[in-house]
């Protein structure tokens, strides 16, 4: 089903019908990535554009391609395995400490506050960085965040470490999570 994006929609509605909108907004316009550039759920897209001096028509067009942008951001386990054989890939794990300690892709660093500072302050912005999570849901947000911060070669692992285990390295155990209070 094709949705039409009306600039008078609230941001809550925009995100309902275009789940990748926030990532698209941050990648290109640096909006919605952190507390300083956030938006209000009830403000309209038109209002957000006016507040940031953006052309609403162009922003609408950009958001309407957000799904395709998300697709292009992803890399399959097979592609990642080939890239790792060919050369250095900076691997960033955006899962919890518990998951990282239980199983990880060799060479990955766990994203923490000090690592975030190291990445933003010192990592070359043109080098390939691949982010992964458990099943490929959060790493898209993380990839969009780093793209919005000026990194030019960021991808995320489609299906996360779970897909990596199934398709690229069966020695990496699969797992499920239980959360107790």
């Amino acid at each position: 089903m094709t949705h039409t994006l009306d600039p008078q929609m609230t941001m809550t509605r925009v995100l309902e019908i275009f789940p990748g909108a926030q990532r698209a907004l941050f990648r290109r316009y640096h909006i919605g990535g952190c507390a300083s550039c956030s938006f209000q759920p009830g403000e309209t897209l038109a209002g957000l554009c006016a507040r940031n001096n953006l052309d609403a028509a162009e922003v609408v067009q950009h958001i309407q391609t957000s799904h395709q942008q998300d697709e292009e951001l992803q890399i399959s386990p097979g592609e990642l395995a080939a890239l790792r054989q060919a050369g250095a890939v900076r691997l960033v794990d955006v899962r919890s400490r518990e998951e990282f300690d239980a199983t990880r892709i060799e060479g990955a660093v766990l994203l923490s506050q000090p690592v975030m500072q190291e990445i933003l302050g010192r990592w070359p912005r043109e080098e390939l960085m691949v982010l992964y999570d458990h099943r490929g849901r959060q790493s898209l947000d993380a990839a969009a965040y780093f793209l919005g911060q000026g990194f030019r070669n960021v991808r995320c692992l489609r299906g996360g470490i779970d897909a990596w285990s199934r398709e690229a390295d069966a020695k990496i155990p699969r797992y499920r999570l239980e959360l107790s209070a």
């Binding site: 809550t12 995100l15 926030q22 941050f26 290109r28 316009y29 640096h30 909006i31 919605g32 990535g33 952190c34 507390a35 300083s36 550039c37 956030s38 938006f39 209000q40 759920p41 940031n52 001096n53 953006l54 052309d55 162009e58 955006v94 899962r95 919890s96 400490r97 518990e98 998951e99 300690d101 239980a102 199983t103 994203l111 506050q113 975030m116 500072q117 933003l120 302050g121 912005r125 999570d133 849901r137 959060q138 790493s139 947000d141 993380a142 969009a144 965040y145 919005g148 911060q149 000026g150 069966a170 155990p173 699969r174 797992y175 499920r176 999570l177 239980e178 959360l179 107790s180 209070a181």
Partner: protein
């Protein structure tokens, strides 16, 4: 509106050799703006000296959790304020802190304001705005989304599956 190529070039130039990175031992004033929890924070250290009967900035350094624009602005601003009195520094507007970057795209202006707030926090702590007042009831940001997922509120247990298990 795409980020202007010449703006990106100026940012890259400023980032090629960032000045005054890191903590400054024996600083006379320290100021922070933003929040490390959301990855958007600047901390500034300032040391003064006496010069011609006036107390002026001898050296200023910074640490940043923020975006590349914030790092570029902080680098330039810490150079710019050398030799100025606290009053002269406080009189600078956000736009005046990094004049060589030229006009910033509207969406990057908050990066400059972050540096200005950190300077105010160091030199005039009572007037610095709080983070809470700057961002009321905002939608979860991207960084909220992926950091909250990695920091669950309860106790997390990882249960490894048997190799032939289809979860």
């Amino acid at each position: 509106m795409n980020p202007a190529p010449d703006y990106q070039k100026r940012i890259e130039e400023a980032l090629r050799d960032p000045k005054n990175l890191g903590e400054l031992a024996g600083a006379d004033a320290v100021g922070t703006a933003g929040s490390a929890a959301c990855g958007d924070m600047i901390r500034l250290w300032i040391k003064f000296k006496e010069e011609a009967g006036k107390k002026v900035v001898d050296r200023a350094t910074f640490q940043s959790f923020g975006c590349e624009t914030a790092i570029a602005v902080a680098s330039l601003a810490t150079e710019l304020i050398r030799g100025k009195t606290a009053e002269e520094v406080l009189a600078l507007s956000a736009e005046e802190l990094a004049p060589s970057l030229g006009p910033l795209p509207p969406v990057k202006i908050h990066c400059t304001q972050l540096v200005e707030s950190a300077l105010r926090s160091a030199l005039e702590p009572q007037s610095a705005p709080t983070q809470a007042s700057a961002a009321p009831a905002a939608a979860p940001s991207l960084i909220d989304k992926f950091t909250q997922a990695s920091q669950p509120s309860g106790k997390l247990k990882v249960i490894l599956l048997e190799p032939d298990c289809h979860d």
